[in-house]
């Protein structure tokens, strides 16, 4: 075992990369949940995004088009959930689970011919000047553009929720859908848009795994990332700022255990691989969740 082989700068740098897919998926789910929709299909939308993004990127040679395709794919799948829960009034928990099972099957089917194929490279974006700062430069400013895009989306969501009228309406719909309806806001339309945004973000998160982090396509490659994203939304008490903290915390655990594996610590690999999941449980237990949106997971039917 050689712990000195772990380079703290590289470790912190890869933390941001490891956190990005979770962060993307979680910010989408956060918006959906603030609108009162509990979509447990994040895992299914992520893996669909992973495979669609990969296919598009391989066939066009453009990772950017791949990400766009992943967002569209994730959003399209989420709309199935949207129609079922918002128009056919199905149970959100069951429908979300169905979405995950369906997404896992769909991605396996779509990705059949792409196993072992290499993804087009997605170069890092060396932020001019800033990336030359010692220590901080390599940790923060030498990543691929999606790392920063993820953070921009979080910032955008924060501004949207807290500073815009549309964001206020979305929060109102999530807090009390009957009241929002009585005031004349369209609960369904607001929720469908939130669901689609959640799907698009989950798709981006999945594509980040298949195009940047791994980067290739394997069946079931999300390995619970979507569920961890759901956990981080609870951890964050539905607040975007804390979401970043949660995702980076999780990224840290993941990267640390991978480094320990590489360093040959005398603990079997399997036990190290458990740690991200155990850490997620621990975080859920220790952080008592804040107050969830008032109408979260409830079926809305405008009677009379």
């Amino acid at each position: 075992m050689d712990l000195s082989s772990i380079n703290p700068i590289l470790l912190l740098a890869s933390l941001m990369v490891a956190a990005t897919p979770i962060l993307l998926a979680a910010i989408g789910e956060l918006v959906a949940e603030r609108a009162g929709v509990l979509n447990l299909g994040v895992e299914g939308m992520m893996i669909t995004g992973a495979v669609v993004g990969f296919i598009v990127a391989v066939n066009t040679g453009s990772p950017w088009l791949g990400f766009a395709g992943a967002a569209v794919g994730g959003a399209a799948l989420s709309l199935v959930f949207g129609v079922l829960t918002q128009y056919l009034l199905s149970n959100q928990v069951a429908t979300g689970l169905a979405l995950t099972l369906f997404g896992l099957g769909l991605s396996a089917l779509l990705g059949q011919g792409y196993i072992g194929v290499k993804a087009p490279s997605f170069p890092d974006l060396d932020v001019p000047l800033l990336s030359d700062i010692p220590v901080i430069g390599p940790i923060v400013f030498r990543h691929d553009p999606m790392v920063y895009l993820g953070l921009f989306i979080v910032l955008g969501v924060w501004l949207f929720l807290n500073r815009s009228r549309a964001g206020l309406i979305l929060r109102a719909v999530g807090e009390n859908h009957d009241a929002a309806h009585a005031l004349g806001y369209s609960v369904r339309r607001t929720r469908m848009l939130a669901i689609a945004f959640g799907g698009a973000c989950a798709g981006l998160g999945g594509a980040y795994l298949s195009l940047v982090r791994v980067p290739q396509w394997t069946e079931g490659m999300t390995a619970g990332a979507g569920w961890i994203a759901l956990a981080i939304v609870v951890f964050a008490s539905w607040r975007p700022g804390r979401l970043v903290l949660g995702a980076y915390l999780f990224g840290g655990v993941t990267v640390l255990q991978l480094n320990l594996q590489a360093a040959g610590v005398a603990i079997p690999v399997e036990y190290l691989s458990m740690t991200p999941y155990l850490a997620t449980i621990a975080v859920l237990v220790i952080m008592s969740a804040g107050r969830s949106p008032g109408s979260l997971g409830k079926i809305f039917h405008a009677a009379r």
């Binding site: 206020l168 929060r171 009390n176 009241a179 009585a182 004349g184 009379r304």
Partner: protein, 507 residues
Amino acid sequence: MTEPLLSLTGLTKAYPGVVANRDVSFDIAPGEIHALLGENGAGKSTLVKTIYGLVKPDSGTMTMNGAAFAPSDPAEARRAGVAMVFQHFSLFDALTVAENIVLGMDDPPSPRAIASEVARVSELYGLPLDPARIVGDLSAGERQRVEIVRCLLQDPKLLIMDEPTSVLTPQEVKILFTTLRKLSAEGTAILYISHKLGEIEALCEAATVLRLGEVVATCDPRRTGPREMAELMVGQVLQSPVRASRPEGPILLDLRKLSAPAPHRFGTPLRDVTLQVRAGEVLGIGGVAGNGQDELVAALSGEMPVDAEMIRLDGTPIGRAGVNARRDLGLLCGPEERLGHAAAPDMTLTENAALTATTRKGMARRGFMRWPQARAFAEEVIASFDVRTPGPGNTARSLSGGNLQKFVIGREILQEPRVLVVNQPTWGVDAAAAAAIRQALLSLADDGAAIVVISQDLDELMEVSDRFCALVEGRLSASRPARGLSVHDVGLMLGGAHDMEVAHVAE
């Protein structure tokens, strides 16, 4: 006579199985305070939802200032100058006062400007509000102010108020009336929905009475007395409940310094609640919703256990006992919320009978349900309390409010309780059913049970109680004999209005 502000002609709206409005026509003049009277289910809500753009009529027309008016959504109605203060369902607990107000406006000013706007309107109409507070932390009266201010900021021509006083103390009602009269004097018409006839007599200049969806009368409430309006509304002569004179029995229910923390963020803690109720006695507890009523019922029913010594039933400490252990001993409860608390909406009446009566009525043997017994008991309740339903196999949700209330109250009464605690026993119930329920409670007391009636309806409490006390912010006042208590006395017991000192209406 001036030209009417809003004119309704032949409005009809049918839902499957029921005609909510049939050929409804009347006019509202500018600046007029117009009462819309009727029992629950008479079609008042459907009518105001039509005016507010939430419901489209099957036929009939409306005109506003002479022009055709058919709002397709509330935003359009608001643009035309209609504003509405809802009875429920229109505030967002987790949002601030300012955010709640902004949500009710179509082109709101900037967040900074809204604070000064709120301050201006509050000052003008005597409705003090802090824009930064979270709505869930406000009292019922303050919450209503949020709604009213939200409406007033849009300079409405017509303000619809749906049962506005049901959540207010008598002093708060006075302040509200002053505000409404001032608005009326400035030319805002008010459509005032209520079934409290005294208030309508004091406030309104015209009244339209609805019964079973139809206009049965229009009158001037200042000339037509409350008694006559009641008969127009109900369509029959009502009988006041009869009470036999009851001898003083032994103390059955004894609460000693009952205290409990608030069960959730927007709940109320109970503080040193002390009371005794004797056999054969009805104790009325008045108070505005959200002052600890739910918590008190939960502590008594056993849903919220407290220290053993805090509650004694016939001398036995039972504060720690569970729900069914208390039922075994004869302490039964009827909570406020019918659907979802007192009854499971999607279950049959047979199953709902078993909900509370399993132990006392022997509906289970060695853990196995005896459904025939449950069914027989459900049938007994249906027959004894005149519950209108095809049979015990129907779901609770399929019953009307009044019928379901008769069922859940009847279910407790037929279990022959020694102590019965009911919360809002006639809330949202038609007059005939309400009278039947009150009579049943009094008869139960005549048979020697101790009864606690918690209600926001002071008239009801005066009618049934022997003694009266008030629950304010989780504290219970000392009790006073109900007979001879004036509205003013009751108002003082209820602690008056919140922020009375600031609530001066700038006249």
